[in-house]
């Protein structure tokens, strides 16, 4: 693929020009990692580890150093204590609650994920748990139409927990396989809104034992270090079990998810690569690591 080639060429220009591993090379690697939003701390750790390996194994080949870094980041991404794949319950609907800060792409991702389930032959129901943002309900309904699935919604301003309750009832009554619940965007620092989210979660659990089976946190690849804080606080509040990383069709790399995976043990399930219904992919850690190092050649020279 294109990303692989560019990665290769980018790293090759970096490594081939070098006969040895020196501070200058490490500096360049530092820049690549930090500008991919891996964060200064992780970057430091990675480079320290790489340098230790270089010393211990007496590596002199820059290519070997590259491999050390790639493997390390790959390891971070795999560090999950959750099943890597979505696990459907034995019986009854599979309930997914989708959460995240404002504007990251929750509603859009719900549309895409719903389409994916429909394609695999499942019946899907969407629940309009964002009763707050202007036209959020209309937006979800349009996605429902596009995908060809039902949407349970109430009037704007109504209590999100009641809508969710109603949605679950409808889902059970109609033998729905997958129920996906949209929630309003909220900053993780807003105590009231996080309480509201906890309440929605409680209502789901009361109505249906074992649900929600997946609490999906949506993160925007354009976001920098704040993603960590988002992941921590949403996890504390509602127990996040999986991530979707959106907007990877831009030039941001979303490197911060490597830290999130490692620190919180939450796997990335999907990536969003556009605004259309088919612009969703299963997460592939190898491809992601490749893309992290991928930079346009002129990008490094601009000042």
């Amino acid at each position: 693929s294109k990303t692989r080639e560019t990665l290769a060429s980018r790293l090759d220009t970096l490594f081939l020009g070098k006969k040895q591993i020196d501070e200058e090379l490490l500096d360049e690697l530092e820049e690549i990692l930090i500008t991919a939003d891996l964060g200064v701390r992780t970057t430091q750790e990675l480079l320290d580890a790489a340098r230790t390996r270089v010393k211990r194994d007496q590596l002199s080949d820059p290519q070997a150093l590259k491999e050390v870094l790639r493997e390390k980041i790959y390891e971070y991404l795999q560090a999950s204590d959750q099943p890597a794949e979505l696990v459907m319950p034995e019986s009854g609907p599979f309930v997914i609650m989708v959460v995240g800060v404002n504007g990251v792409g929750k509603t859009t991702s719900i549309g895409k994920i719903a389409a994916k389930f429909v394609r695999s032959g499942q019946s899907v129901l969407l629940v309009a748990g964002d009763t707050f943002r202007a036209a959020a309900i209309d937006q979800l309904k349009i996605w429902g139409d596009r995908v060809g699935v039902d949407v349970v919604a109430r009037d704007p301003g109504s209590d999100p927990s009641s809508v969710v309750y109603e949605g679950l009832e409808y889902g059970v009554a109609n033998d729905i396989d997958v129920i996906i619940i949209d929630t309003a965007g909220r900053l993780h620092t807003s105590v009231n809104l996080m309480e509201e989210l906890k309440k929605i979660r409680r209502v789901i659990g009361k109505k249906m034992a074992g649900a929600p089976h997946e609490v999906m946190l949506v993160l925007d690849a354009t976001t920098g270090q704040n993603s960590i804080s988002q992941a921590r606080m949403f996890s504390e509040a509602v127990g996040v079990t999986g991530l979707t990383l959106t907007k990877l069709d831009g030039t941001a790399k979303g490197g911060i998810v490597a830290n999130i995976c490692r620190e919180l043990g939450i796997p990335v399930r999907f990536i969003g690569i556009g605004e259309q219904i088919d612009d969703l992919r299963d997460f592939d850690a190898r491809e992601f690591v490749d893309a992290l190092f991928n930079r346009e050649p002129d990008e490094t020279r601009q000042s």
Binding site: V40, G103, F132, D138, G224, N226, T251
Partner: protein, 316 residues
């Protein structure tokens, strides 16, 4: 070159402490020299990078501020660490824009303002907020939905218009954004509205077709303001995006949204640095009154991850 120190969650308050420990040896010496501030600059560098200030911007900033700090007398009222922070902070404020930049609303009426930016950055909400703010100032704003792509985007602006009591142009997803803009301006003239606020669809800076669409709007109607709306949580890529929007559109200012959270907001410095355009407003919440003018000093403190310490230093 490489930075080493123990990271902690409480590090927000710690920059001064760390700088002070760096400077322990220095206390009593008279001047800041290149050697004795090198370690301190390493700490500042980390603070900036953790705040998501772009890597290259940090590099240049550190070089510039080092130059400014060298040779300074250490004031008796400040520790050397505080002294360095003061220099850094002052420089940040300077770069972020030292005076307020109001909207340009004079000239031939109606004036038109276009909002542009990446997907989900807060354009539509900001349009509603601006409409409210301008109406309160006695102007007659007119909201124009020119996002024909995002599901329910037009509807969203209609809802916001109703909430703030500002009329909204009647467009449909069948219309072309350029035509919407032209017709809306004509209608504003007819009806005596004085400020046209055009909401555009979110788009990627690398999407040439959609970037051209914005250029077409800016050619078709006279715009006094093209505001680039950016999310305060944006990471390293902020420079790439802002640079492209600015070079394609000649933006006139920036609105930084969602700053009421715990993001350190280094994007503010990155965006300001690459575009040279003023940050005119900040979004501090979802409600329609949550729009404020930008305060460079607050943004600088936030980027450095420090609050109260600075007010102490400022008094020195």
């Amino acid at each position: 070159m490489f930075f080493h120190f123990a990271f902690s969650d409480a590090m927000f308050e710690n920059l001064t402490d760390r700088l002070d420990s760096v400077f322990k040896k220095l206390r009593g010496h008279g001047k800041l020299t290149e050697e004795n501030i090198q370690d301190a600059m390493r700490e500042v560098r980390v603070a900036l990078l953790e705040a998501d200030v772009n890597y290259k911007v940090v590099k240049e900033f550190i070089a510039a501020v080092t130059e400014k700090a060298v040779g300074r007398e250490v004031l008796s009222s400040l520790s050397p660490g505080q002294q360095v922070i003061k220099v850094v902070h002052d420089e940040l404020v300077e770069l972020l824009g030292s005076h307020e930049e109001p909207l340009r609303l004079d000239g031939r009426q109606p004036v038109s303002i276009m909002l542009a930016g990446l997907q989900g950055s807060g354009k539509t909400t900001t349009a509603g907020k601006l409409a409210r703010m301008l109406r309160e100032k006695g102007r007659k704003p007119f909201l124009v939905p020119a996002d024909v792509y995002r599901p329910a985007a037009i509807q969203q602006l209609h809802v916001l218009g109703e909430q703030v009591g500002v009329p909204v142009f009647d467009s449909t997803t069948e219309d072309r954004p350029v035509d919407i803009a032209k017709r809306a301006v004509a209608e504003a003239e007819d009806k005596g509205y004085d400020t046209v606020i055009i909401d555009t669809a979110g788009r990627l800076h690398v999407d040439e077709a959609l970037m051209t669409e914005l250029k077409d709007i800016s050619r078709a109607v006279p715009l006094t303001e093209i505001l680039f709306v950016a999310d305060a949580m944006t990471g390293q890529d902020a420079v790439t995006v802002a640079d492209k929007f600015n070079s394609d559109l000649e933006i006139t200012g920036v609105v930084l949204t969602k700053i009421e959270g715990d993001a350190r907001g280094g994007a503010a410095l990155s965006v300001k640095k690459v575009t040279g355009k003023p940050i005119k407003f900040v979004g501090v919440g979802e409600s329609l009154d949550a729009l404020e003018v930008f305060h460079p000093d607050r943004a600088a403190s936030r980027i450095l991850g420090m609050g109260d310490v600075l007010s102490l230093i400022e008094k020195a």
